[in-house]
Amino acid sequence: MAWTCEQTEERLSDYLDNLLDPADITALNRHADGCAECTRLIDQVGSAVRQMRSLAPVEVPPNLITAILDQTIGPRPEKKGWRSWFSWADFVAHPKFAMGALTCAVTLVILGYAAGLSPAKIKRGDLAPSNMYRAVNRQFHLTYGRTLKYVNDLKVVYEIQSKLRPVESPAREREREEAPASPQEKSQKDSHPGHTSTLEAHLFAYDAMHAPTRSQR
């Protein structure tokens, strides 16, 4: 059975809030199908509800919470004298900062252990500024010396490697471009270069000496 206009208007919010029984929904729809006025009302009210629900929440003025706290628990005590100078550093007392500081300290201790530092090895005399300076200076020079030595060694190795590689003549390069050799042939050619200069003869002897090692690789 279809509803009347009064019934539809009365139960409109129940319909919009999905609180109607299926039988009531059918009765409302049956009425709305034949009543343009009620169809319009349902659309209008449904739209108004949607528009209200789509509104963003009201922004709270930034100073309201402070004003409320001042009125209720009273204004926070202001620091006077020398304490006010350190008011900018209040964040240090914050639990988040303390947690961060603790994490940093633990990380430093772990790194210290990894680098070979141990509290048991540190003597009282080591903590004197002059001794600390000397130790740091010594460590710095040691590290610098080691790095320098390592770089020089690398340089020598590269120099030897560049000298061991035979200098190819332009004619031979052209020859290689025309007929690209297989890797095996290439290694054979490399091991028998057939050059007559003193340096190359020397290099040939070096290559021959190291040939088994290369082939193993």
Binding site: E9, L12, G46, S47, R53, V58, V60, P61, L64
Partner: protein, 167 residues
């Protein structure tokens, strides 16, 4: 604290339509809550419902207190709303449409009777359930439903008069 402040300020702002008034009323609400915390007993709806109830009672008191002023100073009463509409129209980019809609809904709400206004605000803007509204308003469920229904229909008619097309 921020969540509760937003709830209280939102209710005050939507009811009065004036930011300054809403700010003063919010402070008054929290002062009252702070003073009566000792007498607070966990109610069925919990603290948020109690807070809403305190806010609503203060709003009703404020409405009665200022009723005479509103009748005599009806033009001055319009001023804050006009200022707000003006400032809203300058809000940049995509917020303009939302702000305009908010202004129109606010204007329509202010034309509702306080009983219907509070019911609609609690249901559609604060998102309270029927039983919570019943507790806040201290009226039977049938009355709550009837007020929400009449409030919505009235509001939809005002919005149409303001030229807001159904979305």
């Amino acid at each position: 604290m921020q969540r509760h402040t937003r709830r209280v300020f939102g209710l005050c702002y939507r009811f009065t339509g004036n930011s300054h008034e809403a700010e003063d009323l919010s402070q008054e609400v929290f002062l009252k809550v702070y003073r009566s915390l000792a007498s607070y007993r966990v109610a069925a709806g919990g603290f948020p419902t109690w807070l809403t109830s305190v806010t609503r009672n203060l709003l009703v008191d404020h409405y009665r207190r200022t009723k005479r002023d509103r009748l005599t100073d009806s033009i001055e009463d319009e001023m804050p709303r006009l200022e707000e509409t003006h400032s809203v129209s300058r809000t940049p980019f995509k917020h303009v449409a939302d702000a305009e809609l908010s202004g129109q809904v606010q204007h329509a709400l202010s034309r509702l009777s306080p009983e219907l206004r509070e019911a609609v605000i609690l249901r559609d803007l604060q998102g309270l359930e029927y039983n919570e509204i019943q507790e806040v308003l201290s009226v039977p469920e049938g009355t709550v439903k009837s007020r929400i229904n009449r409030g919505r229909i009235e509001l939809a008619r005002i919005l149409e008069q303001l030229g807001l097309r159904p979305s």
